[in-house]
């Protein structure tokens, strides 16, 4: 099978990978770059487990052709810990998910973190539960019933804004 050389920007780094032209971004991330945080769930756009950010927008890596992502800024869950707002390699969202027990089996968590991070970054304020529900509408979780996930995202938005603005 002929492989094409891909030049991608992933989590702020330039990376090169050889992969077949018909591979999705998810396949290149997982099977060429060993970035296995993004999960392969339904593989057809229903579950959101593969969510990554392309130019800051959360999208489905399973339905993105890898070659179409060239020249764009891809961000995966592995890059969250390097964000300026992260502390000790842990993004406030990841910290909140830990404290609220928002992950059970954890399969949906990377995708949910990427959708939630985009929401918090664009909002720049404490978000409402309804906003979180809407932003996470494309990410399925079969364990938690979503309550603790929503709690964690709202809490993380408060942490990001800081105690002064909250009051």
């Amino acid at each position: 099978m002929a492989e094409a050389l891909l030049s991608l920007r992933i989590n702020g780094e330039s990376v090169h990978a050889a992969a077949p032209a018909h591979w999705t971004l998810l396949e290149v991330l997982r099977y060429r770059l060993d970035l296995i945080g993004s999960k392969q769930g339904c593989d057809k756009g229903d579950c959101g487990a593969c969510t990554v950010q392309v130019d800051g927008e959360p999208v489905l890596a399973c339905l993105t052709l890898a070659c179409a992502a060239a020249g764009r800024e891809v961000r995966t869950v592995e890059g969250l810990g390097w964000a300026p707002e992260a502390r000790d390699g842990c993004h406030p969202l990841q910290d909140a998910f830990d404290r609220w027990d928002a992950a059970q089996c954890g399969f949906c968590t990377p995708g949910i973190l990427m959708s939630a991070e985009a929401l918090l970054r664009k909002a720049g304020r404490v978000v409402t539960r309804e906003e979180v529900r809407e932003a996470l509408a494309g990410n399925l979780c079969r364990c938690t019933g979503y309550t603790k996930i929503i709690d964690a995202v709202v809490d993380a938005s408060a942490m990001l804004v800081g105690p002064r603005e909250q009051a």
Binding site: A21, H22, D43, K44, G45, V59, L60, L63, G71, A137
Partner: protein, 336 residues
């Protein structure tokens, strides 16, 4: 894990290059957001040798007011994502029903990827088609739209009745939008109302070598009220099971003013959206008049005949077409 079939990918930089590639590579398919075609390819509903990606065609992504034939239009580039269409201030102000419909497509993730042009050209869908090849083989070898020679929805039918499942299409038809196509012979403009055909295998008049470049929506010249009603099982992510676009032109900017023109368009019936006819009795009645709602709902109930081509029983959906139309009119009246 669903693997894509093998294909080459072309990444042209402009519309002319896309058209040249389409002309020179029969069987090549266009991919914009990929949210419709890639699942279909993963399900082996087609195996094209080449995909032509629109990822680098920046000229498809503008939204601008233009003048054509002495009329003001908003020209929406086909490459705008559904998120961009639903959030655009101009679209929200002038065509609220289009913003609503674009904002109701699938999930936020899919709206961040899927484009307006892709939604307009969304392949028809059917519960017997949009399945894995394994599933279709278990059924006995597919159907008219896949590998087989029979229709499982209309067992005696020779015509594919897969459903036009776009949320934006009924709205665009109701707003008298036009679809701009670029092809080897140059540009062609087709009214949205005559873009679709009652054939699930080939449900648009777009030629294989043509690319949808933009949608032109006329700026209303009279006060107007418009709405889009959609019913799905899950509110978060689904194709419509009931889909109705409504548009009422009014004599004055009040729901108590007489209606001068009304357009009602229903989707997810067959391959062609249905423009509801025989609504003349409603003209001249105020939008707030309950008699108007009764006339429109009766016409919808009579003319919109769902099939068992998408989930949920057809008789239930038929009833819900009427119910959702009534509620949409009531909401317009309540909003004033």
């Amino acid at each position: 894990m669903l693997r894509l079939p093998q294909f080459g990918v072309a990444l042209p930089a402009n519309v002319d290059a896309v058209v040249a590639l389409l002309r020179d590579n029969p069987g090549a398919r266009i991919v914009a957001g990929g949210t419709d075609i890639l699942p279909n390819l993963k399900h082996r509903l087609d195996e094209p040798g080449m995909l032509i990606s629109l990822a680098q065609v920046a000229e498809l992504r503008s939204i601008a007011k233009v003048e054509h034939d002495g009329q003001a239009w908003v020209e929406i580039g086909a490459g705008n994502t559904l998120t961009q269409v639903s959030e655009d201030p101009q679209v929200r102000a002038l065509f609220p029903s289009l913003a609503t419909a674009a904002g109701l497509v699938a999930s936020p993730l899919i709206r961040n990827m899927g484009t307006l042009g892709g939604n307009v050209n969304l392949d028809t869908r059917c519960r017997y088609v949009n399945q894995t090849k394994f599933w279709r083989q278990a059924l006995g070898g597919g159907c008219l739209k896949s590998e087989g020679k029979v229709c499982w929805v209309v067992p005696t039918g020779r015509n594919c009745v897969a459903a036009m499942s776009s949320d934006c299409v009924p709205v665009l038809i109701s707003l008298d939008a036009q679809i701009v196509l670029a092809g080897p012979q140059g540009q062609r403009v087709v009214p949205a109302a005559s873009y679709f055909k009652a054939d699930g295998l080939r449900h648009t008049v777009r030629e294989d070598a043509e690319l949808t470049t933009s949608l032109r929506v006329p700026v209303p010249t009279t006060p107007t009220r418009s709405a889009y009603a959609k019913w799905t099982v899950r509110k978060s992510i689904d194709f419509p099971l009931v889909s109705v676009a409504l548009r009422f032109d009014l004599e004055a900017d009040s729901v108590d003013a007489p209606v001068t023109k009304l357009v009602v368009v229903a989707g997810v019936l067959g391959a062609k959206p249905r423009i509801v006819s025989k609504l003349d009795d409603a003209i001249g009645k105020p939008l707030s008049d309950p008699a108007l709602s009764r006339i429109v709902c009766a016409a919808v109930a009579k003319q919109c005949k769902p099939l068992e081509n998408v989930p949920y029983e057809a008789p239930y959906r038929r009833r819900m077409f009427e119910v959702f139309t009534r509620r949409a009119i009531a909401e317009l009246v309540a909003a004033g």
